[in-house]
Symmetry: C2
């Protein structure tokens, strides 16, 4: 496993990760998934687990259909070392609004700097 060279690099990975969740154009979303994840990369959250670009892209498309028009934005927590980072994210109806969902993810990068695994948890879910 390569190390994240700087905390700035890890911030860029997290920004790119959230950008994928906000990219609703199917073609460019899939391209972003392939740029960001290893081909055999994984994604697991409390509701779903997926391996590989196709299934990960389907998970993201499904979430976008469920929360149409909402945005995934950075949350308060960010911490990175070696090849891993932990961070929170928020799903917000509009900028600055109270988040509908707050998530907590750990991402692990492979030697190429691509996401090998996302381990997702939920800190706040809709009532």
């Amino acid at each position: 496993m390569s190390e994240i060279n700087t905390v700035v690099d890890a911030h860029l990975v997290v920004d790119a990760y959230l950008a994928v969740w906000n990219r609703t154009d199917a073609t460019s979303r899939r391209e972003m998934v392939e740029d960001l994840w290893a081909e055999d990369g994984g994604y697991t959250d409390p509701l779903v687990t997926a391996t590989g670009w196709e299934k990960i892209d389907q998970v993201i498309a499904h979430a976008q259909a469920q929360f149409t028009g909402m945005r995934f934005v950075r949350g308060a927590v960010f911490d990175a070392h070696h090849n891993i980072a932990r961070f929170t994210w928020e799903l917000v109806p509009t900028a600055g609004a109270e988040p509908l969902v707050v998530g907590f993810d750990v991402v692990a990068l492979n030697a190429d700097g691509r996401i090998q695994s996302v381990f997702g948890f939920l800190d706040k879910v809709p009532a």
Copy 2:
């Protein structure tokens, strides 16, 4: 990846994991490491990254030497789904004392129910 069958199973993994950190007898500590981790399993925290039983055991032995007489105990956070769990732990000088260190770990199990990876972060470090 197999799923954790019940939340009880995940609690048992976390209990066994903390028990290793508290086991100072070198022979039985190593046996516990081999029982708990996959042979190619990994451990990463902000200070160190290790792969395989030998190196993981060395990391634990080093921490024990650094914090002689202290105990690793469960913290307030615990959450598990699929094959992963997140939890906090505390390093305490004596039972019930203010923790010297508070850590936050995510563990991912392999198909045999052994730890494939530990992704460790620190929520509180000594001043």
